[in-house]
Symmetry: C3
C-alpha cells in the first residue's frame, strides 16, 4: 500500500478542479452523485489553519490493470493520512502517520475494480481476489463464510442461496460521496458515502458511511448507519474487517483485549489458544487461526482493543460499543509475507460463520422496515510509549478482577 501515496501525489499534476482554501473556510463538496449525475475524476482541497497546520483532501482516479477507473479519496489531516475507496464500498485502503501504518501487504497488489470481481468464483471465495484493504466492511445481507443458506423467497417459499465470503458491500461502488471541512475549531475533515446493497425481490440495505478526523489529530472515527429500505424486516450482518501488518505486526507484538469469553473458531486455533495474543514473526506454511471473543466493556458499554508492536512504542487502538457489536473476531494469519502476514481485528454484529450458523446461534440481527442501526468505531494511532501504555492500562482496568471464560474447543459449524 505504500506505493499508493506517490500515485495519488502524481495525480496532482492533472488536477482539473482546484479549490484553494488559504485559511479555514467551510468546504462542502459532492464528489460522486447518482442523483446529480456527478463524478469528479480529480479534485483537491488544500488548507492551512490559523495555527499553521496544513491539511488536504484529494480525490483522484487510479489507472492501469484491474484498477482502471477506481476512485480514491486521500485525506491528510496534517498528521495522519488515509485513503478511502468509494469504488470499493468506502473501504479504507490504508492509514499512515510517520513510521506507523495501518494496513498490510496483500499478495493482491491492485485496488481491484468490482466489475472484475466475481464473488461466486472459487466456490464463493471470489472476494479474496480484491482483498488488500486495511479496513473493509463485511456484509450487509451476509458477512461470513460461503456456503448454502436457506431463506424465504418473495413467494413465501423456502429457497436455497449460495452465500459468498464476507458479502457484497465491499465490492459495491458508492452512490453518493461528499466531503466537508468544518470551520471549527476543531477543524473537522469529513467524508461521507452512501452504498446501496439493494436488489429487487431481495435485501434493500443502505449503508451511510462517515469517516472523520480533526486537523492535527492522531485519531479518526467511523460512523456508519445501516438502514433497511425494504418493506419487510430483513436480517443483516456487519463486520469491520481491519487488517494489520508490519510495522505493528511483528515478532513480539501483542494484542491487548479485555476478555469475557474466548473460543477458537477452528481446529488450528484450538491448538494455539494458549497465548494467542502474542504475535510471532512470519512462519512458512502457517495456517490461519481464528479466535472468537466476547469482550468486556466499561460502564458506558464501550470496549477497547489495542495492537502494540514489540517495543510497545507503536500501537493502534479502537474503541466501540458492545451494544452495537457484541462479537469480536481475531484473525491471525502469520504466514510468510508473500502469503500475507496479517492479523484481523474484527468487531461485528456477529461472528463470520455462515449466516445459517449465526441464525441458529441467535447472533443474527434484523431490521424492521425502515429501521436503522448505527455503528461507531474510534481509532487512535499511538506513536509513543506513554500513549501505548495508557491504552494498555485502560484495557487492564476493564479486565481487572474478571477471569476470562476460555472454551478450548471450536463451536463447530452447528455452533
Amino acid at each position: 500500500m505504500n506505493i499508493v501515496y506517490p500515485r495519488a501525489a502524481g495525480v496532482l499534476l492533472f488536477l482539473m478542479t482546484v479549490s484553494g482554501v488559504s485559511a479555514i473556510e467551510p468546504v462542502s463538496k459532492t464528489l460522486i452523485s447518482v442523483e446529480q449525475n456527478i463524478r469528479e475524476s480529480n479534485w483537491e482541497c488544500k488548507g492551512e489553519t490559523h495555527e499553521g497546520a496544513e491539511f488536504s483532501i484529494i480525490k483522484s482516479t487510479l489507472h492501469g490493470g484491474k484498477q482502471e477507473g477506481v476512485d480514491i479519496v486521500t485525506i491528510d489531516n496534517g498528521r495522519l493520512k488515509m485513503i478511502v475507496v468509494p469504488t470499493r464500498g468506502m473501504s479504507i485502503l490504508g492509514v499512515s502517520m510517520g513510521p506507523l501504518r495501518l494496513g498490510w501487504d496483500s499478495p493482491v497488489r491492485e485496488v481491484v475494480h468490482p466489475s472484475l470481481i466475481n464473488l461466486q468464483d472459487r466456490e464463493g471465495l471470489g472476494w479474496l481476489d480484491g482483498f488488500n484493504e486495511w479496513l473493509v466492511r463485511c456484509g450487509l445481507e451476509f458477512a461470513g463464510h460461503p456456503g448454502i443458506d436457506t431463506f424465504r423467497d418473495n413467494t413465501g417459499a423456502i429457497s436455497e442461496q449460495r452465500l459468498t465470503l464476507h458479502g457484497k458491500i465491499g465490492n459495491i461502488p458508492a452512490s453518493e460521496v461528499t466531503v466537508s471541512v468544518e470551520p471549527g475549531p476543531p477543524h473537522i475533515l469529513r467524508l461521507r458515502g452512501r452504498v446501496d446493497e439493494i436488489s429487487f425481490y431481495g435485501a434493500a440495505l443502505e449503508l451511510q458511511t462517515e469517516v472523520s478526523t480533526t486537523v492535527g489529530s492522531h485519531e479518526f472515527e467511523i460512523r456508519d448507519m445501516v438502514t433497511n429500505r425494504g418493506a419487510e424486516s430483513q436480517e443483516f450482518e456487519i463486520i469491520y474487517h481491519a487488517n494489520f501488518g508490519p510495522p505493528l505486526l511483528e515478532s513480539g507484538a501483542s494484542l491487548v483485549v479485555p476478555i469475557r469469553k474466548v473460543q477458537p473458531m477452528n481446529a488450528v486455533a484450538a491448538k494455539s489458544l494458549q497465548g494467542f495474543q502474542q504475535i510471532s514473526g512470519p512462519v512458512a506454511g502457517k495456517k490461519e487461526e481464528v479466535f472468537l471473543i466476547e469482550p468486556l466493556s466499561d460502564s458506558q458499554g464501550d470496549t477497547l482493543v489495542l495492537l502494540q508492536n514489540a517495543n510497545r512504542r507503536l500501537g493502534c487502538s479502537v474503541t466501540y460499543s458492545l451494544e452495537q457489536m457484541p462479537f469480536l473476531t481475531i484473525w491471525k494469519n502469520t504466514a510468510l509475507p508473500r502469503s500475507g502476514y496479517v492479523m484481523g481485528i474484527e468487531p461485528g454484529t456477529n461472528y463470520p460463520f455462515n449466516r445459517s450458523v449465526e441464525r441458529k446461534a441467535g447472533r443474527l440481527k434484523k431490521l424492521s422496515a425502515g429501521e436503522s442501526a448505527e455503528f461507531r468505531l474510534a481509532y487512535t494511532l499511538h506513536s509513543d510509549e506513554a500513549s501505548v501504555r495508557e491504552a494498555a492500562e485502560r484495557i487492564a482496568f476493564l479486565q481487572e478482577d474478571f477471569e476470562p471464560q476460555v472454551l478450548p474447543e471450536p463451536p463447530g459449524e452447528g455452533n
Copy 2:
C-alpha cells in the same frame, strides 16, 4: 425514474457536439459503433418543425455508483419523452407525457452497468439487481425462469445448463446505435440499436431494435428483428417485459384485455384469478401473482391491451400481432411501494417458465440459420377520457360474443 430527467438535462451544460436543426432537416447520426470505433459521450440534436413543434434527441452519460459510464438517449418528440439505455440492451427506462408516466419505482435506484451484474448470482436471479426499466426485453437464448435446462452441445452430446432469469439481452451493451430525424412530414424520430447475444459454440442471436415516434405524437412504436447468425437452427425466446407503476397503477385501475384463455401461473394467482384485472392499492406482504393469457385478435391477427387508471382518464395501450407473440403474461406485484408496486404486461413468443417447460409445451420457437423473426409493438399514451374509452371499446369489441376459457389451476412446471 423521475429523477433521471433532470440528470439528462444537466448534461446539456457539457455538450461536446451540438447540431442545431433550425427547421426540419434530415439528421442521421451514429452514436455508438463497434465497427467505426465510435462512442459519443454527449451529443444532442434539437429542432423545430415549420408548425413550431419542438423536439430533441440527447445522448448523455450517467455517472456515479453502479451507473458510471452508462449511455442513455433521451428522445423528446415535443409531447412525450422517453429514455432508452443502449448500455442495457436498448431497454426503455421510462416514458412520460405530462402527468402520465410509463415506468415504476423499483427498489433498484440506479441504471446499473452490466459489468456489475452477475446473472448467475442468487441462484440465477442476478438479473433482478438491475431491474427497474419500464420496458426490458427478456431473451434471447432463454427468457424465463432460472434453473437447469438440457441442451445439445457442439459435440452433439446432451449437456446441462443453468439458465438465468429472463436471459442476457437486457444486460448486453448495444454495439451499433444510430438516430435519425426524417424530414417528413410526418417528422419521425428514430433510434436504432443492434445488440449481439453471440458466443462461440453457443447461440448467435442478433437483435436489431428500433423505437420511433412522430413529432407531436402520443404514440411510439417498437420494431425489432431477431436474426440467427449461427450456422445451425437455434431456439429463441423473447418477452417484452413492460412494467407499470403509478399513476396508471392505483387502487381502482384496471387491465382491459380480450381473453381467449386465461390460467394462473402460480398458486397465489390461482386464488385471485377471479377479478384479476382489477387493481388494488399497495398491500403489505402481497406476493406476486402471474396470469397466463392467450388473447383474442382482430381480423388482422392483432390484439390490443389497455391499462387504465381509476378514473379512466389516463391509460396506456399496446397493439401487436398474435402471430408474432401469441402468449401474454400479466405480472401483478401490488406490494408496498418499497417492494415495488408494479404490474407487468408482457407479450411474448412464450410464457416465462423455464425453457425446458416451454419446449415441452410446444411454445418454444426456432430460427433456422440466417432466419429472422420480426416483432412490432405500437404503444399509445391516453390522457383523456374519450381516448381511454375508445381503446376499451375496441377491446370489448374483440371480446364480444366470446366466452373466455378459464383454467382455474396453474399448469405446473411440467405444464
Copy 3:
C-alpha cells in the same frame, strides 16, 4: 478482425501524445502502469530507418458495445502488423502481412472487455463469449476443460473447485505495459506486459510477456516468463492457443508437424485420425476434432510446426522448445464460417484436459516459491513457395526415419 485496422487508424485523428522519430532513436515508453498510475488512451510512435523502412507503434482505445475502453497496441514493423490487447491478458488479436493473415473469423465480433465476461457462465464455458483472438494464452492456474477439481485449501483441507475453460489469464487486464524501439541495427520493436493472476489464499502467478519483431522482418517472437509469487509451491499450466482461419486454412491446406506420438482426444477425432493433417473446406454441422501430439525435436530440443495453404505459397510456422512445452494440441473446427472455421495449433506444458486429468497423467508442472518458467515461441510468416517449402523440408528432416506412434483411441478423461 480485418475490420480492426481501420478502427485503429481512425484513432490517429485523436492522438493526444505524439512522438515523432525521424530516424531511429531509442524509444522507451510506459503505456500502462499500476505502479505509476498511468494509462495512455492514445499514443503513437512512428519512425523510419536510415534505409527508409517505416514502422510504427500505436496505442489506441476501442469503443462501442462490449469493447468500450479496451486497450490495443498496433505494431507495424513495415512488413507485418500485429495487434496486441493489454486489456485481454496481452493476447494477440491478429497479425497480417500483405495477403497473409494470422487470425480467424469468430462469431464473437468484438474485443470483449473482461468486465463483461463471466467465466463461470454456461457451466464454465464463459471464456467462449470473448474468444476471437489469433493467439490467446490459456492458464495459468488451470488451462483446460471446465469441471470439478480437488485442491488443498489454505487450511490444508481438501476442497473442490469448479475450474473454468482455459483459465483466467486471457481475461485479466495487464498491469504494466511498456514499448521500446532499439536503435540497432537490428531495429527491434518490443512490447512488454505484466499480467497478474494473483489472489489471496490462492495462486499468485505472474506472467511477464514480451512480443518483439525487427523492422522489415517477417518474423516475431514471444518470450514469456511465469513466476510463482506465492510462498508455497504452485501447480500451473500454460497453452498457447493460436487459431488459424482463411487464407491459410482452406480446402487443401495442410498441417506439417514432426510426430513422435499422436492420439485423438475425443471420439470424433478418433474417426478422422487418418489424414488429420489434411484440411477440408467448411462442412455444415462438422464437430470439433482434437488431436494430442508429442512432437519430435532437433538436437537443441526445438520443434517446428507449419500450416501451409493449398497451393503452398502461404504459410505460418512456429518453432519452440519441447523442454518448455512438450505437448501439442491440434484443434480442428472446420465447420461453416458462421460457426468459426478455424484450426488451433496449441503448444503447451500439458494437454487441455481438466487439471485433475493432467495431474493424474503426470503432465502437470509446479513452480516452487519464487521460481520462474520461461516460454519462447518464434513465428515466421511465409509468403512465397520457397520459404514454405524450406520449412516443410526442415520438418520432414525431423521426422526422417522415425515412425510415429499412433494411438487410435482417445485416452479418456481418466487418461
